[in-house]
């Protein structure tokens, strides 16, 4: 068994329109990879397809989570296999408090016969909230309802810290964040870093990667990865812009 998120020749369509063609990427457990690229290249499509969104049809390929193919599984089953996605636009759910929502998600993961400890749960929840500098009163607010952009993203990271996934996909978590929020969110991610988790950080901008330093950087264009390098690739992109890649991109896709 390979301890990795291993995407092999993945083809994804929305309706009749193919977005990803033979997409390949391996994120070994314990590593943080960044996925960069201009708008409309299929980065968010990749994230949602991996998580099993019903609107994204997988027409070919496999996705292995620690050796197990998750293509075709229900979203909740994929989630329980350890794959977490931090949403770019998290949904608002009226009347469902953060505490109850995360609690339901934690309980859904309990192995059969195990009992849920409410005291242990709240101890953990408050500790993670302190780390993210979230006020305790947050727990009783409805999920994402009336949240600012920064609050929504912090709430996503809180859920990630509580659910302890083996692979996290962060879909433009930095968008809409001011510099303080960016720092806090990054601290949350860095706290999860370690041999037990792999992460794929999707972003437009290099600035997030100042805080979450990636092991590898992949650049995506036209539904494929066109360049892979270390963290210096992100800096190079920042300096030269995505146009710098357009020539080799055409060469690759032609």
């Amino acid at each position: 068994m390979t301890a990795a998120l291993d995407i092999r020749n993945l083809c994804v369509s929305i309706g009749d329109k193919p977005i990803l063609q033979d997409f390949c990427l391996v994120v070994p457990k314990g590593e943080v990879h960044a996925l960069m690229g201009p708008n409309g290249t299929g980065k968010s499509t990749l994230a949602k397809a991996l998580a099993g969104h019903p609107d994204y049809t997988i027409t070919g390929g496999e996705v292995y989570v620690d050796g197990e193919n998750i293509v075709g599984l229900e979203p909740d089953v994929i989630a329980k296999k350890g794959l977490f996605m931090a949403f770019q636009y998290p949904s608002e759910i009226a009347g469902v408090s953060i505490a109850n929502f995360i609690r339901a998600a934690v309980q859904a993961r309990l192995p059969e016969g195990a009992t849920f400890s409410a005291t242990g749960y709240y101890k953990d929840l408050y500790a993670q909230m302190d780390l993210l500098k979230m006020d305790r009163s947050f727990t009783s607010r409805s999920i994402n309802e009336g949240f600012s952009g920064g609050e929504k993203k912090r709430c996503e990271i809180l859920q990630m810290l509580m659910l302890k996934p083996t692979y996290a996909i962060m879909d433009e978590t930095d968008s809409g964040l001011d510099i303080d929020a960016l720092r806090i969110v990054s601290e949350g991610v860095n706290r999860m870093r370690g041999p037990q988790m792999g992460a794929l950080v999707i972003t437009h901008y290099q600035r997030l990667l100042d805080y979450i330093v990636p092991d590898k950087v992949h650049v995506m264009a036209g539904g494929k990865i066109v360049k892979t390098g270390d963290k210096s690739l992100a800096l190079e992109l920042e300096a030269k812009g995505y146009d710098w890649l357009s020539t080799p991109l055409e060469a690759v896709t032609a």
């Binding site: 998580a51 099993g52 969104h53 019903p54 609107d55 229900e74 979203p75 909740d76 994929i78 989630a79 329980k80 977490f84 996605m85 949403f87 998290p90 949904s91 608002e92 759910i93 009226a94 009347g95 469902v96 109850n100 929502f101 995360i102 339901a104 998600a105 859904a108 993961r109 409805s142 859920q159 659910l163």
Partner: protein, 490 residues
């Protein structure tokens, strides 16, 4: 699989049914996933037969050995029932599918309500045990009445309450043994001719609770009635009258279930509440009818000066429910409240609402209605708020919120607010929201199944309302919602 009860029932079709001797009891068990969807075969000693005529009314009155004035009250009501058309000019055409000539109007084993569960006939006792009634009684109730088809099988109140003068009996017993207390209000809050189904109930009523709380007595724990329909092709017509004397307080809870039969079942109750000066009545309903039940119920309360009547009404299940609990705010500073939740699943129509009739200065009313439509389920809200011009300082607040789960669902709101005069305040808010596919995906991504995600959204939607319910009932309601959701996915 549901067995056919008809095989063991002494059905009589002749127009003048005779009163048979108590028969033997047979039982067979049928188990299904739904809590209420089971029944034990029962032999009925008393059966008014199929169809409705004067003979049916005489039969019921004879079996119950009622006074002549009650017989005449019933016969007059039967005429009113026949003279009134079905209200299909505004209500659902589905009402036309009720075949009054195929319904059985009275079924009992001839039991007197027992004071201990040991004395309750085995098949009936098993039914209530399976529904958890004796357990709830031990845990948190001050008194319980358990009605099985037409008559109560069990009725018991804590001794301390009888010592304080609290009366908790069935309708016939109330009218016969405590006529001085109940007769003056019986049929006064909801007259026989209020609507076709109140007339039907007035003709063939049986069972229900007649409750009197003396002056100043505050009953701390709730009194509960449980209405169980066991027989097929049956109509249950319980009659309830609750009188809280000056300064008295009481909470009454009713629960209802029936097994799922192929043919339709009719439940048509009349509930009248009287809150005298400064009294408080809270009436809580959690119905979980199977989806072959026509549930056509009339509920209204009268609130005197500074009195308070609160209806908490949760409608889950049934084929068609029509129910609009109301409060007549007769005395100064009287308060009326209706908090209602209706859940319409595939094939169900919840037509519910509230009526607030302001008749005195400084009266206030509050209506919060939440409906959930799933699949082809349909929810309708009808409200009536009436504040005449000559009154001052009256207030009404109405909120109705609808939640739609999937695009086939339908919801309609018909608020009728007739508020006159500048010295009164009224506030009305309505909203319609949807559980979107993206919301479901978001929750599933966190590890919740589609069913759990829908349950969570529905519970979230009703959450601010259920917080105001007694704890035992919010727990029960949440469980019922979860059960409904299980059947609605896939």
């Amino acid at each position: 699989m549901v067995a056919d009860t008809a095989n063991t029932l002494p059905i009589e079709n002749e127009p003048t049914p005779s009163i048979p001797e108590a028969g033997s009891q047979e039982a067979a068990i049928n188990i299904d996933r739904d809590k209420g969807n089971f029944f034990y075969n029962t032999t009925y000693a008393y059966d008014a037969g199929v169809g409705l005529s004067e003979a049916t009314v005489h039969y019921i009155t004879d079996v119950k050995k009622e006074d002549e004035w009650i017989r005449n009250f019933r016969l007059k009501a039967l005429d009113v029932f026949h003279s009134k058309p079905m209200p299909t000019h505004w209500a659902s055409k589905d009402l036309e599918n009720i075949d009054f000539s195929k319904i059985r109007y009275y079924l009992s084993q001839g039991q007197k309500p027992s004071r201990t569960w040991e004395e309750v006939p085995d098949d009936i006792k098993r039914t209530f045990e399976r529904l958890g009634i004796p357990e709830q009684e031990r845990k948190f109730l001050a008194g319980v009445e358990a009605q099985f088809d037409s008559e109560a099988a069990y009725s018991k109140m804590k001794d301390s309450l009888s010592k304080e003068g609290v009366i908790f009996v069935g309708s016939t017993e109330g009218l016969m043994e405590h006529a001085d207390i109940f007769r003056p209000y019986f049929g006064k809050i909801i007259p026989t001719g209020d609507n076709k189904f109140s007339a039907l109930n007035s003709a063939v009523f049986s069972g229900g609770s007649f409750i009197y709380i003396p002056k100043g007595v505050k009953v701390k724990q709730p009194l509960q009635a449980y209405f169980r329909i066991n027989a097929e092709n049956f109509g249950q017509f319980e009659r309830t009258l609750i009188i809280a004397d000056e300064g008295a307080e009481v909470t009454y809870m009713e629960g209802c279930t029936a097994p799922k039969f192929e043919t339709s079942t009719l439940h048509s109750a009349v509930v009248e509440l009287v809150a005298l000066k400064g009294a408080k009545i809270q009436y809580i309903t959690v119905q979980n009818w199977s989806d072959n039940v026509f549930n056509l119920v009339t509920k209204r309360g009268l609130a005197e000066e500074e009195a308070e009547i609160k209806w908490i009404d949760c409608n889950i299940g049934s084929r068609l429910t029509m129910k609009y609990p109301g409060v007549i705010l007769k005395g100064r500073k009287a308060r009326g409240e209706v908090l209602s939740i209706a859940l319409a699943n595939n094939g169900q129509h919840q037509d519910t609402g509230a009526k607030m009739i302001h008749m005195a200065d400084e009266t206030t009313s509050n209506i919060i209605s939440k409906s959930i439509s799933i699949g082809k389920g349909r929810a309708t809200y009808r409200g009536l708020v009436h504040i005449p011009k000559h009154l001052k300082g009256c207030k009404n607040n109405t909120e109705c919120d609808a939640l739609l789960i999937n695009t086939d669902s339908r919801t309609d709101t018909y608020p009728a607010i007739d508020v006159r005069g500048a010295a009164n305040q009224v506030q009305h808010e309505a909203s319609v929201s949807k559980v979107s596919a993206d919301q479901i995906f978001y929750m599933q991504q966190r590890g919740l199944s589609e069913t759990e995600a829908m349950s969570l959204s529905v519970n979230g939607f009703v959450n601010d309302l259920t917080r105001q319910f007694p704890m035992e009932y919010s727990v029960e309601l949440k469980r019922l919602i979860d059960l409904q959701m299980e059947g609605s996915v896939g």
